[in-house]
Amino acid sequence: MSGQIESPIIEMKALGKTFFSENGQVTALKNIDLQIHKGDIFGIIGMSGAGKSTLVRCINYLEKPTEGEIWFDGKELGALDQKSLRQVRQSMGMIFQQFNLWMQRTAEGNICFPLEIAGVSQAEAKKRAKELLKLVGLEDKAGAYPSQLSGGQKQRIAIARALATSPKVLLCDEATSALDPTTTESILSLLKDINKRLGITIIIITHEMSVVEKICSHVAIIDQSTIAETGSVHDIFTHPKTKAAERLVYPNDNRINKLIGKRCARIVFDGSSAYEPVISSMILECKATVNILYADMKDIEGKAFGELILQLPQDETTADKVIYYLKSRDLHVEEVNDYVG
């Protein structure tokens, strides 16, 4: 991932947002500090109601933060007047869960809209629309109205529309939540492709860990209006530090309770050793039998990540030997017997 040295393209400093209404006030975000670098695919994940939609709308100032600052490409958005703010928005594309296409405009007309806003001539806008239709693989749908397109096609048109003004950042608000798994997959690979080819920074708001695993390089976990954890997807996935992170990484987390009362070890594979037959070697070397209680392996960016929960032998010495062996293989091992009830 590029540019940890250069200054971030988006930076939030002590950002907060409180909604005031007759029924009192609701704090949607508090004390958010976040840096997003150029070229990143940055996931912002959280349960519904955690504040993630408000957060993404703060980035392009559709929601005005009540505290703190948003910096985009060296500008503090709160200091801009309406006109400059509209100009800044032209360098940020956005796509939505419900696509939000104009129903009375053709696919081509939809893509031309942001260009019309930016004052591009009609001939040039049409030329650009054609390129973008090609980029999203829908060249033959220029004249189709949104009602004639499938959900996946609509989202592709929405992506083309968001890219029309060659923005620096693409904001995706639950962009795949209304799509079936196959279509989700294809939209995600399109986004990844766009990120690689155009170098555009992508920010993805989602409640699904699978979306983050598939394409994100970095992730921030938002829980109860604050950032619970942030870092590379690799780190968060292998070593979730907070309860909120664990809940998202292991959504059906009731496995521990089913364990029978013995010592257990949780082993985390961090991409380096997942393909080695560590467990077989361990069994042969320690001459110990173990019980595999839980295993979950995932492929993230071509490397294998996962965790394994082993029930250790009853004999304390053998159990220690097993732990020692696993630790000697540079695996992250922790005993989880205190969870056992």
């Binding site: 939505f96 296409l101 104009w102 009375q104």
Partner: protein, 219 residues
Amino acid sequence: MWDNTIILMIVKGVFETLYMTLLSTLLAYVIGLPLGIILVITEKGGILPETRVNKVLNVIVNLARSIPFLILLIAVLPLTRIITGTTIGSTATVVPLVIAAAPFIARLVESSIKEIDKGVIEASLSMGASPMQIIYKVMIPEAIPSLIVGAAIATTTILGYSAMAGIVGGGGLGTIAINYGYYRYEKGIMIVTVILLIIIVQILQEIGMKIAAKKDKRK
């Protein structure tokens, strides 16, 4: 009694009615369309929220809409005389028709524009569209089918009002129906004018619906 003069009078009545109706609709839209749009955008959560302006306009529109047309017709006679120089005939009737129809049209426009998905407006904002661009390029085009249906409703309602103006010599088929049918008990002529009014309403409504269906790309 069906001599040439009567037939000529009825033909003239049809044209006067159409003239009053269409001219009034057009002028009422000149006021009602922007008013309806302002009602939407100044609302809380709209693209140019101005709660106070919104409240004042709402009260004005409601007041104007609650006055019965016949009372309004007579109440604005002095104004009608100032504007058109007379209080009888079809041109004079246009004045009260516009005053009565504009707030009604504002409500029709308001409800058409409110049908647009909020997300579509949000998408436009996210692209850096200005409020004016959103009105011209998003709100009106997206609401077109509904606006046309509204226009058909408005036109036929105004046609009904214009016939009512016959009671004060407003011209058109309404005047003929009242003069012959009500004052002279010539039921034949009255029935003919009523049937003609029905036919005109049918045609206008049908044209509106056809255009709206053709413009609707949502299905």
